[in-house]
């Protein structure tokens, strides 16, 4: 067994300038589902020196293990997906404009008038829209269909861009007061959190970190990662929408907010893909209560995380998800609070430190 005696192991991780820099780098990178190369490189660079075992599997997942010390260590898998929603160029038209398709769930209404970056070289382009002067009032009552939109890379793009290239919104990471605004906060917040947890892994567990691929197109990476790790339990670390905006009719209350900013990490009880393991719900909420770390229970309902694939792997893996709430998920620019991110990291670290074999011992009592 290897024992790594480095400065950070076991210590409580904090969000400081270097963590913010890392998140910025991760958010500004392009990693559309199926082409996660850029984020994978950043992850590898960050964790290469601290992982006891590190590999890239057949799908492109990064699997990193860090062993604890002592007897009866619980094998805890943490999964954070590296991929993001985006676009694929599908056709070059005669007018040198490019037709594109969406990858992952993107509302068409978020597309017109946006700058994008295409390919590994981040070539800038724009998704334009017809001038308002040339539209009719009737036309403006209908959304601008994806089929009519093009990516424009300028008149001299030649063969630098071709069908198959991926593209993302061109949004640059920015701190706005207590918030972060960026593209792909879903799920670079999770990736950055998992990197920090790996760097500060508590000794009582074997931490099995999966930086997964293809979450946005059907949770495809997480299942094989769970199979490979064969963990005792798993936590998906993700970002979930905060729909905490006012109702248009001010007399009506917003009862479907999912999560709220400033209320701390969102602990999942149930979503469309997973019913969280009740022992893990208790672990996380009791940790929050005990440590005085704010948290919220995510409103049960739709959505899904890597836990949806992980809990059905092998003979079944007790699983749960914890997310950093963020507004405007799957658009050009999400907004999350720095405090919510820090509290997510603290809650997860504290909860992992409290994991003992007793947690999952014996028959599950529902």
């Amino acid at each position: 067994m290897t024992t790594k005696l480095d400065a950070t192991a076991g210590k409580v991780p904090e969000i400081g300038p270097s963590q913010l820099d890392l998140l910025e780098k991760l958010c500004n990178a392009t990693a559309v589902s199926g082409d996660e190369h850029e984020v994978r490189q950043i992850v590898l660079e960050e964790i290469r020196s601290i992982a006891d075992d590190l590999k890239i599997d057949a799908l492109g997942n990064v699997l990193a293990a860090r062993s604890g010390q002592g007897e009866n260590r619980v094998r805890v898998m943490l999964a954070a997906h590296m991929d993001e929603i985006g676009f694929m160029i599908v056709k070059k038209h005669d007018d040198d404009l490019f037709e594109f398709e969406r990858v992952g769930g993107i509302d068409e209404r978020q597309l017109p008038g946006k700058p994008v970056l295409v390919g590994r070289d981040h070539i800038p382009g724009v998704i334009g829209a017809k001038p308002i002067h040339m539209t009719t009032a009737k036309e403006r009552k209908n959304k601008i269909e994806l089929s009519s939109l093009r990516i424009d890379l300028g008149p001299d793009i030649g063969s630098k861009v071709k069908p198959g290239d991926r593209a993302t919104f061109a949004t640059r990471f920015e701190v706005l007061g207590p918030s972060i605004r960026a593209k792909a906060l879903d799920n670079r917040l999770g990736v950055a959190t998992l990197i920090e947890l790996l760097k500060h892994a508590p000794d009582n567990i074997d931490l099995l970190a999966a930086f997964t691929v293809q979450e946005e197109v059907g949770l495809r990476g997480a299942g094989v990662a769970a199979y490979a790790f064969d963990p005792d339990m798993a936590i998906a670390v993700d970002s979930t929408p905060a729909y905490d905006l006012p109702h248009w009719d001010t007399d009506d209350q917003n009862v479907q907010y999912n999560t709220r900013l400033d209320a701390g990490p969102a602990i999942y009880v149930m979503d469309r893909a997973t019913i969280a393991d009740l022992r893990l719900v208790a672990l996380l909420t009791e940790t929050g209560d005990h440590e005085g770390i704010p948290y919220q229970r995510r409103q049960p309902g739709g959505g899904g995380t890597d836990a949806g694939a992980i809990h059905k792997s092998r003979s079944g893996i007790p699983s749960i998800s914890v997310s950093v709430p963020s507004r405007y998920t799957h658009t050009a620019a999400g907004i999350a609070r720095l405090d919510d991110w820090a509290n997510t990291l603290h809650l997860l670290h504290a909860a992992l430190s409290r994991v003992t074999p007793d947690l999952l011992a014996g028959e599950r009592r529902d």
Binding site: G125, D152, Q256
Partner: protein, 352 residues
């Protein structure tokens, strides 16, 4: 010779929403200061620059009219730390969700226009476009901070950084009409180095996007003998491929229609041919949609020419222009003005 790209980027770096042109006016003033003999601001905020001609006094006057104001938005209400907005100038609400903006509150606050989730909107919104009155601006601050910093009536400007595309194309907001201000600047620069008989009055006009207020008032004060109106015109692009749309990056639009004096049109056409400057006729069967609508009918009437710089995606934050067309416009104007003699005015007549 000024490098166009940095000049243009500078012209895009300041807001100047209609009625609030102060910030951009100062940038233009700085650019025009070394190129003009006189510079002053009109009573409603337009910038007037005079570059004197070398002809004998009293000299004839040519006006270059370029509007400097920009479309944008204004805060109409604040709720839970989020702002409701309305438009200044014509904005298609369908391009707003996800746009970066700056809320000009007690301090400048970067934010985003956001589309609330469907369940928070009236049922009729469905999955169709969300009307502007239901869109919100989020500046990432908590409600108490927003209440301190933002008030109803504060301006909201687009904040998309300009993007350089291939083939000397630039994308960004407010290229309408800062590209024309840049073209006028190139023209003044060129004329500074050569003899011209006429006085040149360059005007960066206000409020084109709302009332044509600047274009109606500056010519009244200046009383030019002829006027050149420079604005953007519609380039071909996705969803824009009919007779109104000019090829992108392949030359200037030469306006043709009731707002334009036919003899001036012909004079520009002749110069363009002589100088081998590519152009396309920009057909304007009714109103031109430019400052010329106003300038033409100021006082006893002023003969106008309209030059158009082809622009894609007009009135979006990713308006796209070819730098080549801006340079061509500056050059065509300079060549035209240098060709003016005291006798030219007599040729701007109706003897067709």
């Amino acid at each position: 010779m000024t490098d166009l790209l940095p000049l243009l980027k500078k012209m895009l770096s300041a807001p100047g929403l209609s009625g609030y042109e102060g910030p951009i006016r100062e940038i233009i003033r700085e650019a025009w200061e070394p190129l003009t003999d006189e510079l002053h601001v009109s009573r409603i905020g337009s910038l007037h620059g005079l570059q004197k001609g070398q002809g004998a006094e009293p000299r004839l006057r040519v006006l270059i009219s370029t509007h400097m104001d920009a479309i944008g938005m204004m805060v109409t209400g604040i709720e839970s730390g989020l702002m409701h907005i309305t438009q200044i100038g014509g904005i298609d609400h369908r391009i707003l969700p996800g746009q970066p903006v700056i809320v000009h509150g007690r301090e400048d606050l970067p934010g985003t226009v956001v589309q609330p989730p469907g369940f928070l909107l009236p049922d009729e919104a469905g999955d169709g476009p969300v009307e502007m009155k239901y869109l919100l601006v989020d500046v990432g601050l908590r409600p108490s901070e927003v209440a301190e910093k933002v008030r109803v009536g504060d301006l909201v400007s687009f904040a998309q950084e300009p993007l350089e595309l291939s083939g000397e194309a630039l994308a960004g907001h407010t290229l309408d009409n800062r590209v024309s201000v840049a073209a006028a600047t190139l023209c003044l620069e060129s004329l500074k180095e050569r003899l011209h008989d006429w006085d040149v009055w360059a005007v960066a006009s206000v409020q084109e996007e709302v009332t044509l207020g600047g274009a109606l008032t500056s010519p009244f004060e200046i009383r030019p003998d002829i006027a050149i109106i420079v604005d953007v015109c519609f380039a071909k692009g996705p969803g824009a491929n009919d007779w109104q749309n000019l090829p992108f990056g392949e030359g200037i639009g030469l306006g043709l229609g009731p707002n334009i004096h036919p003899a001036l049109y012909k004079a520009f056409e002749t110069i363009a041919k002589e100088q081998e400057i590519p152009y396309t006729n920009d057909l304007m069967p009714r109103m031109s949609g430019t400052d010329a609508m106003a300038v033409q009918i100021v006082a006893e009437g002023i003969p106008c020419a309209v030059l158009g710089i082809p622009l894609r995606y007009m009135h979006t934050p990713v308006e796209t222009v070819s730098l080549k067309d801006i340079r061509r416009t500056g050059r065509l104007m300079a060549e035209f003005i240098a060709s003016l003699t005291p006798d030219t005015l007599e040729t701007i007549n109706w003897e067709e």
